[in-house]
Symmetry: D2
Subunit: 144 residues, 4 copies
């Protein structure tokens, strides 16, 4: 019985980069998506914190899934902006994205990224971006 | 003989996430930095293009290095914004960042990300962000 | 008896550009600010909608006031990003800003801009930005 | 003989808000636009500098004109991001925008805003954004 979350998990599992980062889709429904990334040693920078690139990956991907939840699977992130708030460490990251507004072709979404350390979540980054539906052509492809 | 590029390469080599992505510092001087990321299969999304998270990593890191070239090594990316322009594929990415303006504590930088395919470079993303100097305290740490 | 809102109204009233636009501070407290801009004919673009520059003014200023509510009066907007969602028209705009995170020197804030038409509010833009405390020097000045 | 600049000037002159700010289109050609805003007392904030909202207006509008130069007149600014670099003062602002990339429906543009004081220009803000072509329907309208 394929529900929305199962389909979303299959999409995430078909992204080699998401597999490399062991990302997991925690939640996926109309207008919302949550992606978890375990904080493993290879995701860090030179001072032991999570690399900003991992945080931006999590934000970008959760934004895309949130947009895709209202626009359909053929979507790309057109642009996004992120503010890093705190150095991230702990057990895992969770990027929580919601759709703020959507038209037929675009969705503007917001995503907060939390770090979880010993069961306590703190906000470590916040982002906002535009997800665009790809034109429906035989060779249309999603970017990420 | 440690020149600026050599020191920059050592910083990049001390970032486990940059090692995971096989990133390489191509150029590093006062106000400029270029980072190369080979396009390997594990950096892709479900349609064979480079995952947006890899592109944002390259932009973020090149922005940080450019900012660090004028502010010193103890810096973090406070925020950035990226527009994805084309699906990225080919042999490698090169993120080219320059400092637009800097004060004692911050630098505003711009970064264009190119994909290189059979020797031909095309622009695939453009970004802009703020790099901040960390306060000089005994426990100050860079974020990425 | 000068409360926080009264002080905020005095600051807004000392901005000639805010007077030109007849902006009004509706709400001002720790971590929150709301600014209203009546939609008058001279604030429009060529198709009868509110000019994007008016919407970005409202967002920028509400972001600055929200940041100032936690950092003190000597603040500037360092940067912000805005997504326009719908053409704006109606009786007035209200920009509602909240602080997402603050340190001693910076606050990251979010602002939604609503249009009000015949008593009904709809979201017409959403924005996110960084407010910075000015260094405490004799000649420190706020930017906006 | 209507050239491109003349047509652009007519568009700007049909924007009441641009008239209120005495904005002038200095340059307009395929992929480029420059808008000048004289620094008059009513455009300032409480410390005598140009209000950030004026700078963001100039950036937003120059971005839109640059996008319109390649996409046609029916365009809107979908989103943009701006970094303020220096408090602005002097005789006038000039916002200089260029198209970085365009497809059939969108253009990603960059805009630097300069202040001119006694004949000397200095960069006071830099911005980046997306301009979108409106769908060609009978009632399509530009936002700004």
């Amino acid at each position: 019985m394929d529900d929305v979350l199962t389909i979303g998990k299959q999409v995430l599992a078909s992204q080699p980069f998401s597999l490399l980062l062991h990302a997991e889709l925690l939640y996926f429904s109309q207008g919302r998506a949550e992606i978890k990334v375990p904080i493993q040693p290879e995701l860090k920078q030179q001072h032991g914190f999570v690399h900003g690139g991992v945080i931006s990956y999590a934000a970008d991907n959760a934004l895309t899934f949130a947009g895709g939840s209202v626009l359909g699977p053929g979507v790309v992130t057109s642009e996004f902006k992120i503010n890093y708030l705190r150095p991230a460490r702990g057990d895992f990251l969770v990027a929580k994205a919601t759709v703020i507004y959507s038209s037929k072709t675009q969705a503007v979404c917001r995503c907060d990224v939390f770090m979880s350390e010993e069961g306590k979540e703190s906000l470590c980054a916040t982002s906002q971006g535009t997800i665009s539906k790809l034109p429906e052509t035989p060779d249309s492809r999603t970017e990420d």
